[in-house]
């Protein structure tokens, strides 16, 4: 890994942490909060690509494990990984990876701005929602013992917010493509 890659992953880890300064919204019917941090996960994938994006998320999880309160609402500590949100947290890694993987393949500099934005939106939806939720819901349903139906239906409450996040990530991905092209420099 080049120094640049190392620093960029650290930067996006920091962006995810900084997004945690926005308060989470707890829902009564599902023990997982709505948080702005998953926007950072999508952004990491869109801007950094698969490998670096996933590593950025791993760095955040490492900080959580150390006990620094880097998750929204000031949460942190090993205990988090034993809580019902653990599946989503692990899903962040794969969400960033898939978002990045698809972005690397679907988006290039020759395309029009609209095509780039729409492609980024789709990759963020697939990685940051489909893949991410698969992990989160499975864990909630099985390990957390919520049952599949309840886990699935409960998680639908995240959809509106996450679609907006995917849109923001897409606009940002396009803006970075113009102002600071990174994706071609794949790790």
């Amino acid at each position: 890994m080049s120094t640049r890659d190392l620093v960029l992953t650290a930067l996006f880890a920091a962006i995810i942490v900084a997004l945690g300064l926005l308060p989470p919204i707890s829902l009564g019917f599902i023990p997982v909060p709505i948080t702005a941090q998953s926007l950072g996960v999508m952004m990491a994938g869109v801007v950094l690509g698969a490998r670096r994006g996933a590593i950025a998320v791993l760095i955040v999880l490492l900080l959580v494990a150390i006990g620094l309160p880097v998750l929204s609402g000031g949460r942190g500590g090993l205990a988090i990984f034993a809580s019902p949100t653990a599946g989503f947290l692990v899903g962040w890694i794969f969400g960033a990876f898939v978002t990045g993987y698809l972005s690397e393949r679907l988006v290039n500099h020759g395309q029009s701005g609209l095509v780039q934005t729409v492609s980024f939106f789709l990759t963020a939806m697939i990685g940051g929602i489909v893949v991410l939720y698969a992990f989160g819901i499975t864990y909630l349903a099985t390990v957390a013992g919520l049952g599949f139906t309840k886990a699935f239906v409960g998680s639908m409450a995240f959809i509106p917010g996450d679609v907006i996040k995917a849109l923001v990530a897409a606009l940002l991905g396009r803006a970075v493509m113009v102002g600071y092209p990174l994706l071609p420099a794949r790790a």
Partner: protein
């Protein structure tokens, strides 16, 4: 999380970074298994005391915690909506104690010390052949460095608006913010290479 180190010579400063980091990890687990409100309240008082001993002036100490305190307050409010007050109090006490202790650790552990310690702890992982302990330490240290920087960049962009007599709008904030921090990151990478901080010995 504000990770600003304060120069000082308090007992927390003198404690080895390893002891602090391991205690933090262990404390995180202990907090999680505790349900007892009295015990958790004790932890809050204790960690508040520890935080006060770091030598941070009271105003500055509170100012640093403000963002996290605010979000904890929001968590508490939501919990109160759905739960009896006892059940709502437990997570608030947990979060507050963890935040106070983590803030005390970060205020008394310089980023250099943090990097060194994480590097030392990660050293055994090198045998897997996947990672360099030096890189893990450096990456985690850089995150702590970047969080305040991102906040600072946000401030700088607001100032750049003001310098031209413009009002700041959130819509024109995010993209410049990310692009500017990306450029900062590139510069930091160049500085690390230029100063041979990473390549040496590897």
């Amino acid at each position: 999380m504000q990770s600003l180190y304060v120069e000082g010579n308090s007992p927390m400063h003198r404690l080895s970074p390893r002891v602090k980091l391991v205690s933090l990890a262990v404390f995180g687990v202990v907090l999680f298994v505790s349900q007892n409100i009295a015990l958790l309240s004790g932890f809050v008082l204790l960690t508040a005391f520890v935080y006060r001993t770091t030598g941070l002036p009271l105003g500055e100490g509170l100012r640093r915690l403000r963002p996290v305190l605010l979000t904890i307050a929001v968590v508490a409010l939501f919990n109160l909506l759905f739960n009896p007050w006892q059940a709502a109090l437990v997570p608030v006490l947990r979060l507050t104690a963890l935040m106070l202790f983590a803030a005390a650790v970060t205020a008394t552990t310089s980023i250099t010390a943090f990097i060194d310690e994480v590097t030392a702890l990660a050293r055994p992982l090198e045998r897997t052949g996947f990672v360099q302990a030096d890189d893990i330490g450096l990456a985690l240290g850089l995150v702590l460095r970047f969080v305040p920087e991102i906040v600072g960049r946000y401030q700088a962009i607001r100032e750049a608006h003001k310098a031209r007599g413009l009002k700041v709008r959130p819509t024109s904030l995010l993209a410049p913010l990310i692009i500017l921090t990306l450029r900062d990151a590139d510069n930091v990478a160049a500085a690390i290479d230029a100063r041979r901080i990473r390549r040496h010995g590897s």
